[in-house]
């Protein structure tokens, strides 16, 4: 079920604030489900992190794991971020190639969507500033059924270990 309009408007406002502020603080912490504290809603997002660009490349990549706690499939439709003007979801197709996913990504009932290196990411373009390890980036995830989920992702240096790679037990992507 989508959130009522005021909540959506708030989300957009948050995204705009995030765009201006780039980093931590743009999303009130009460709204944010960060990598350390999964929300209790129908959608739980964990292990969110962002790899900064490697110059002269100017795009960053956001990764996270989405767990659908409900008994009905959901779909990640769109992602907004305070770190850059564009955010494009890339997932792996049946041939193993990573491609843009204009129709979003399915999260099966009681299943997971894992975006990890080589499997998928949100490519963040037209960055509003330099991303450095230790900063955080706000992500707003829009789901077909669950509505909007706000996530705080840590910026982690390229090559540094990603946060806990394991998906919730018993779940299959």
């Amino acid at each position: 079920m989508r959130l009522p309009w005021p909540a959506v408007a708030a989300g957009v406002a948050v995204a705009a604030l995030g765009a201006a502020g780039l980093i931590r603080g743009a999303v009130p912490q009460s709204l944010a489900s960060g990598s350390g504290a999964p929300s209790a809603g129908p959608i739980v997002v964990t292990n969110a992190y962002v790899r900064p660009p490697v110059p002269p490349n100017d795009t960053a990549a956001a990764y996270f794991t989405v767990y659908n706690t409900t008994s009905r499939p959901d779909r990640l439709l769109d992602v907004l971020t305070g770190a850059g003007a564009t955010a494009v979801l890339h997932t792996t197709n049946s041939k193993g190639n990573m491609i843009a996913a204009p129709n979003g990504a399915l999260i099966p009932a009681h299943g997971t969507l894992v975006l990890s290196t080589g499997k998928g990411h949100v490519m963040i373009g037209q960055l509003f500033g330099t991303l450095k390890p230790g900063q955080t980036v706000d992500l707003q995830l829009d789901f077909q059924r669950a509505g909007t989920v706000d996530v705080v992702a840590n910026v982690i240096a390229v090559g540094a270990p990603a946060p806990g790679a394991a998906a919730p037990s018993g779940a299959h992507s």
Binding site: R51, P53, V54, P55, P56, N57, T59, A60, A61, H90, N97, M98, S116, T117, G118, K119, H121, M123, V158, G159, P161, A162, A165
Partner: protein, 214 residues
């Protein structure tokens, strides 16, 4: 074009065999990342190549614009060969960072003999200057010799075919994720795929490969 596709298909089939040989069972649809890193019984932690693949010969342009004959220039040296592109937001930087970190964790007498050769699959965007700047994010402090190569589309396709990897498509954006490691014997006995364990695999296997006799 037809020739290239056939070679790519053969390389893909060979690689599928390699994956099948890693000994995972139970899952009808194993994914590469579930297989790599679990090879604890063989000589290598990466994906063993059976039969080993000979060091290929191809000549491309380095970032100074000079011809670089891969086969001759790197002969006898432990050599990483990787095809990718600098606008790649995902696998390429992680993979090269894994190579770089592994190099900093092996003794200097090994790392100083190593070549790291990056060949761009994005003929259009990756100029010599772009490749150089991109590699400069990784090369400092690694003691290895880093080489960035580019060429025409035909040259890049032929180089991938010579290395027995799947030829990239989509202007180079869909490309093989394999890192080949050639040894002093001028054969690649092991290759690596991106995973959370790739750096440790490379570190482990590089020491073995580098110490193998000619």
């Amino acid at each position: 074009m037809k020739r290239v596709r056939i070679v790519g298909a053969v390389a893909g089939a060979v690689f599928a065999l390699v994956l099948a040989g890693c000994g995972s069972s139970g899952s009808p649809k194993p994914e590469a990342s579930d297989l790599v890193g679990q090879n604890q019984v063989g000589t290598y932690q990466g994906a063993g190549l059976v039969p080993p693949q000979p060091r290929p010969s191809f000549t491309l342009s380095d970032t100074a614009g000079k011809p670089f004959a891969f086969g001759k220039a790197t002969a006898g040296h432990p050599t990483f060969l990787y095809f990718g592109y600098t606008q790649c937001p995902d696998i390429c930087p992680e993979t090269v960072a894994d190579i770089r970190l592994a190099l900093t964790h092996v003794p200097a007498e090994i790392s100083s003999t190593v070549y790291v050769v990056f060949v761009t699959t994005d003929v259009q965007h990756d100029t010599a200057a772009v490749i150089k700047r991109w590699l400069d994010n990784f090369s400092p402090g690694s003691k290895a010799t880093w080489v960035g190569l580019r060429g025409t589309q035909d040259q890049i396709d032929a180089a991938q075919a010579a290395a027995h990897i799947t030829v990239a498509s989509d202007e180079g954006q869909t490309h093989s994720a394999q890192v080949l490691l050639y040894g002093p014997d001028d054969y690649a006995h092991v290759a690596f795929l991106q995973s959370s364990n790739e750096q440790q695999q490379i570190q482990h296997d590089l020491s073995i490969v580098a110490r193998a006799s000619h």
